[in-house]
Symmetry: C2
Subunit: 230 residues, 2 copies
DNA sequence: TTGACAAGTGTATAAAATACACATATAATG
DNA sequence: CATTATATGTGTATTTTATACACTTGTCAA
């Protein structure tokens, strides 16, 4: 068959496809969605900002490679990541054929502390998504896709659990939804919907923000790990 | 940093990750969902049945590689394929580290003719999904994931257009949904929903099936290419 | 004490999903 | 020709879900 010949002809080339993982790590900080960027230290794209990622080793799973890169480049550990897509344009890297398997994660803004303790702030930074400039490689495209994936995930999975390790108030969750989805909800209807799902429970505690009426503190119900939120 | 050392140590290994595409091509034949399998001619897994796929060349996109493999192994052309997932277990191939980028497609059963003209039926076969035995590699896992993907796609995209190139009747579409989703719909409500979306138009023609009342023939509205069906 | 601010709460209306029964067009049969 | 079997076609009432909308409450600061 014709294909067999091509196969042989292209075999050496085929051996040279590189595999990278690239993760868009988000947080929501006072109603602003931010993404974690790192400054590249090597060519290509030296000194440009980029999403977190790198080459996958032969002896690790893609997901493991992604988590390793996150830890090495930012100090963050235990991030829950979700598949987002695959990027494989032939010229996406100037060095060699390279495909990128991309992931999405979201973390509590307080983990920024961890970041600043272990990594020079010149090397890693939380950037509001509408302030992101030209990134290395095709990372701008990857980021756009990641935001789409994030929008799908917050209405169909419990991905936001990772954002509220110490409980949350309903207005807080609402602001997070509004920031990520880019639209507003009626306060009464949002609360009604969230409570009707019976995925969260009232802790009985309250929490105060600068001289306003205290808000009730809720937490995700542990018994319903993987059900969708919206 | 510690990772840098590992990087160097693993570089040779990293160069040896192979990239495959694997496509689950479905059809629905008289209410039965079938998948297209091909018999392997070479080791590993020689003579076992497998999904359609193979190594990606360095000079082609993943999607192009998938379509090339489909054409080479089954003769099918012009199949619209959708991303399904990535499979990367370290031992999924006994030969080398291999990651599989997987796709899903669905085609009109009448293209089976094309198949039998160009390919020996010993080499390729439509198999009902509940009759699929042990496949090569991890293709049973890939098939399960592909079915999940297909279920999502038929309620959120116009993927079924590819299944009805010459128009369709509403009961036909309903049977297809029921076969793929594994549940039944009320006939009146299904028709109401489908028509309310205004994605299909009445052709004015009718079609007959063996001594029953003729059914109206519809077609997808060309102006609304990419809207979701359910 | 008053004002500013965000949190908390209930009801009425509209839209969507669901449940449900009978008439009709064809081919096959006697 | 009348009868039967079979799958198609059609409308309405009910339930569920989503949406729209206004006033009261608790805290801090002035």
């Amino acid at each position: 068959m014709q294909g067999e010949k091509n196969m042989r002809k292209n075999f050496e080339l085929y051996k040279n496809i590189g595999v990278h993982t690239i993760t868009s790590i988000f947080t929501v900080d006072k109603g602003v969605v931010k993404v974690l960027l790192v400054k590249r230290k090597n060519e290509p794209f030296k000194d440009m900002w980029a999403l977190v990622g790198g080459a996958v080793y032969n002896n690790e799973l893609l997901r493991e490679g992604a988590l390793r890169e996150i830890k090495e480049k930012t100090g963050l550990e235990g991030v829950k990541i979700y598949e987002s897509g695959i990027f494989d344009k032939l010229d996406r890297s100037p060095i060699m054929r390279m495909i990128a398997v991309t992931y999405v994660g979201i973390v509590d803004i307080n983990k920024v502390n961890v970041l600043s303790e272990t990594i020079n702030t010149e090397d890693a930074s939380w950037v509001p998504i509408d302030k992101v400039k030209r990134l290395a490689y095709d990372h701008n495209d990857i980021l756009l896709k990641a935001l789409d994936t994030l929008k799908e995930l917050i209405v169909s999975t419990d991905i936001l659990k990772g954002l509220f390790p110490n409980g949350f108030t309903i207005p807080e969750v609402q602001k997070t939804y509004e920031a990520i989805l880019g639209k507003e909800f009626d306060r009464r209807n949002f609360r009604k919907k969230l409570l009707s799902l019976r995925l969260i429970t009232d802790t009985g505690k309250e929490i105060l923000f600068e001289g306003k009426r205290p808000a009730k503190l809720y937490k995700f119900d542990k018994r319903k790990e993987n059900k969708s939120v919206f």
